[in-house]
């Protein structure tokens, strides 16, 4: 069974759990979903890892957003503006549309970075162009985006997760 089918099964178990309760509410549905998750991740080892990966990525993204909005707030409120704008090219290992869409959206959500376009480099590899408010060293930014965002997304979307 692939991950999508297991997820549908999980939703089905949650509906079943909620239907068996007298008070039908979102909370019972969520509790049922969590129990189904527990059950299914015992049956399908990869599924639990995927869910852990998704939740981990969300927490990572929330943390990144909070940290960098404080940073951007600092730049905005500084007595003298010290901006250092630039666009860098990030060669993508992600190649499905879903992976690229998630990566570009999470880069845009993180303050200070903004994805501008997806294109192809001269060698034909897909690249993402990212605008930085305060750039510093181009290679350092590139590496941090690749190792933080892309690696985490690929870990979830491709199989073989070890978390």
């Amino acid at each position: 069974m692939n991950t999508r089918n297991v997820f549908l099964m999980n939703l089905l178990l949650a509906v079943l759990w909620a239907a068996l309760h007298a008070d039908l509410s979102v909370t019972t549905f969520i509790v049922g979903f969590l129990f189904g998750l527990l059950l299914l991740s015992v049956a399908h080892r990869g599924y639990g890892a995927t869910v852990v990966g998704v939740v981990g990525f969300m927490l990572f993204l929330i943390r990144a957003i909070i940290v960098s909005s404080i940073q951007v707030a600092g730049y905005v409120l500084a007595p003298t503006l010290r901006l250092d704008q630039g666009i860098i090219e990030i060669p993508l290992e992600a190649h499905s549309d879903l992976e690229i869409a998630i990566l570009a959206s999470s880069i845009t959500l993180t303050p200070g970075t903004l994805s501008v376009d997806v294109g192809r480099s001269s060698t034909g590899q897909r690249v993402l162009y990212v605008h930085n408010l305060v750039m510093g060293d181009a290679d350092a930014v590139r590496n941090s985006i690749k190792s933080d965002f892309e690696r985490r997304i690929l870990r979830v979307t491709r199989g073989g997760m070890t978390i």
């Binding site: 909370t27 666009i87 959206s105």
Partner: protein
């Protein structure tokens, strides 16, 4: 005042503060790209804090989940418009492009756009790189 109320006050103040900072950013920052950073970003955090605060304040089960769904929807849709705007600005404002300190996109503009504009106004796309 209970700790819950204090948490609500802190959330609402944080949200309003981030909104204020992004408004200041829109006024202070020099060009379209940097203003977009201020407008698109601080406001997502600001709105999230405000919605969470409202959810905790009313403490109604369905209202709270509605707030979570709203935050998720904002997070899913806000970056798309920001990216579309940034791309439009980049492709149509050569002057703005030249003032970037570092621009690795310069060589690829022609390939990045799938088709030149229909009205033959593609002079704007040839970058002096």
């Amino acid at each position: 005042m209970t700790t819950g109320q204090i948490a609500i006050i802190v959330l609402i103040l944080l949200g309003a503060g981030f909104m204020l900072i992004s408004a200041i950013g829109i006024v202070r920052l020099p060009d379209v790209f940097s203003r977009m950073h201020a407008a698109g970003k601080a406001s997502t955090v600001g709105i999230s804090c405000l919605l969470l605060g409202a959810g905790f304040f009313f403490l109604d089960e369905f209202l709270f989940y509605r707030m979570i769904v709203l935050i998720a929807l904002i997070f899913a849709t806000a970056p798309i418009s920001t990216t579309a705007l940034a791309r439009a600005v980049y492709n149509n404002e050569p002057a703005l492009r030249r003032q970037l300190r570092h621009d690795e996109m310069a060589g690829s503009v022609a390939e990045a756009i799938s088709a030149p504009p229909a009205d033959g106004d593609d002079a704007i796309l040839t970058t002096p790189s």
